[in-house]
Subunit: 273 residues, 3 copies
């Protein structure tokens, strides 16, 4: 039963500092408000350091990074680590360019994140130093299906254990592992891939869930992933004739706004492997 982690978040709140891409930043802010958390954004290094200090969690997303915001990421991570804040990394586009790959790797070398969340291409790049990412979507060859699920679970467990960090791989099947167990989550709808930023929103949710549930990081990560997936299902069920991906975007966030732990528990579909 993971609904309790959402209820805790609504009860406790969570102030999340996001250094994230400018494409989906508005949705990230609204999804945090939807789940009971509060967003702050600051990427200028001097500002990022102080803003991080007053928050409970730091969400780093490397989409649309630039020289200045990269510096902001490092400064914020340093302060967050010093203060033992929750730290989440979303390595958007790792593998698609050296700058993104290296930034993600350098951040992970220097700092201990609580959760690293990406699609299978991005995580494979971080794990192996190989592979390629087609834009920010997972390489089709890298798709996790029922057929390669056993191998994928083995991969994520090994990698999570190696880096001693919770790893979340998202796609049609989502995997979350701390190196010991692996949650296999089958919530969500494929149409979510037609809405920009659902992945970015999830990273922010993970940070919020962990800040509100610091002693149950693995379960809180799973709860965040399920929240996004269940919201995708509820949001889709609320679509009407003529609605498309722009309306769907709002309906997903709306569904989170209206969700409580009980609803999450009824909708969440996962197995522990």
């Amino acid at each position: 039963m993971i609904g309790i982690y959402l209820d805790n978040l609504r009860k406790n709140g969570a102030l999340i500092h996001n250094i994230t891409n400018y494409v989906t930043v508005n949705d990230v802010a609204n999804v945090l408000l939807a789940c009971g958390a509060s967003p702050v954004m600051a990427d200028e290094p001097e500002d990022a350091k102080e803003i991080t200090a007053i928050c409970g969690g730091l969400n780093i997303n490397i989409g649309t990074l630039n020289t200045n915001t990269i510096e902001g990421m490092f400064v914020a991570c340093e302060k967050a680590q010093e203060l033992k804040h929750i730290m989440v990394l979303d390595p958007v586009g790792a593998g698609a360019s050296k700058l993104r790959t290296n930034t993600a790797r350098d951040l992970m070398k220097k700092f201990k994140f609580d959760v690293v969340k990406g699609n299978v291409s991005e995580i494979k790049v971080l794990a192996s130093g190989e592979g390629g990412a087609k834009g920010v979507d997972a390489d089709i060859n890298d798709k996790i299906t029922k057929d390669n699920l056993v191998k994928a679970i083995e991969f994520i467990k090994n990698y999570a254990k190696k880096i001693n960090t919770i790893v979340a791989i998202t796609g049609e099947i989502d995997l979350v592992s701390d190196g010991n167990s692996c949650y296999v989550i089958t919530n969500g709808r494929k149409e979510m891939g037609k809405v920009t930023g659902t992945g970015c929103q999830l990273s922010a949710l993970i940070a919020a869930f962990l800040v509100a549930n610091p002693d149950k990081k693995l379960e809180a990560t799973v709860a965040a992933v399920c929240t996004m997936g269940v919201a995708g299902e509820i949001g889709w069920s609320n679509m009407e004739c003529g609605d498309g991906n722009a309306t769907y975007r709002d309906r997903i966030i709306d569904a989170i706004y209206n969700m409580d732990g009980n609803r999450l528990d009824r909708g969440a579909i996962y197995e522990i492997k």
Copy 2:
């Protein structure tokens, strides 16, 4: 009767240059279009100066500021002041970091804004050099309620008089003062706090209302604040089962799009103290 100020805005139009944060900038653009104004955004110093020159008003919002955009703010303010344009400052997060606090203070030292609009924490920080801001939301201890209203009115009047600038403090109760009188506005809904950027939108609206009503700056500011609040009420009344904060965001802007002076007058709730 403040509806006339909205009607004037729709009749006269207003081209507003916004140097604002990238979190809510799209909503700022759409809310300006909704009220009959037009938006332009430019923050590179060289560009900001010229863009300001062709506009009627300048809206400075210091959320997600960086070294380059700060320079853009100063350059734009200098040009706007030279041309006697309407100038509005939204000191987002003043008190949350030195960079934000100092930027807001330095801008106010160097330039004469027509309106400074913030939550009570931000305005207190500017007024006193003390206090703290929790992210971009008002410190709970600083909330303006019926119980501390008399003191709050005294505070805003004194501060507005001291800086010879219209000051707007937003929250569940909104205050607008020019140092002589204080408007106490009780429009709006608490759920607006769950939509990112309603405050940023308001600052842009204030700039637009003042450009279209340059001889009635205090009343135009009040009209802008009431427009936002009434839109929040209308928007909420249009919410349906399953709707949440993402849809509410659109419904608020939609309500402004459909509002005229008559509707504003019927909805506006304020007292002059």
Copy 3:
């Protein structure tokens, strides 16, 4: 019959690298997803070069440009040209500031775009070195109407021929010319001007349509323009009581999400002159 170009896009896909303004970037991403393409955004020069390399098309939009993103534009264009990628330029605000005017001109001097798309003020500025732009909207004096249509067609044909590039001028009447023929398109609704970013979305659509139809660039550009206009009409027909420009924004993108070639063919209204 231009519907085939939309069907091709849905069948073939198109990965579009966008260096675009932060005001409307989210809508640009969602409209690309709506039409069957995929978006990537990267503006840091080092990153932009590599990201462009993995894409099929490059969409350059100079709204909210800064020194760093301008460099990113040049680096990306150089790589895109080397790889013979589709290149589209949207000179937002050319004429409104020297930086914008010069950036657009310099880009066009150095690189061969497939399509340049702007409002009539912007295109006139590029063509003549004169004129002025009021914000990002077309100067009223420059509006293309039935009365000045013959002159406007002559202008666009001459300019397209001179620069050997497809030129699209958008407004209530849209013109698309390759220098030989000129398509006169009358889809769309004037209320689209109350939604920020429909122009930016169109540039991205053009890039996507051309990537999927590289041998029919003129017709694909026309198809993109008609898609946007027809979506504006469908979206408006789906508006309900109380809806305004924020909801309209979503309904336009939704309409594209639900459109196929057949629907486009039934809605497209154009003449070839």
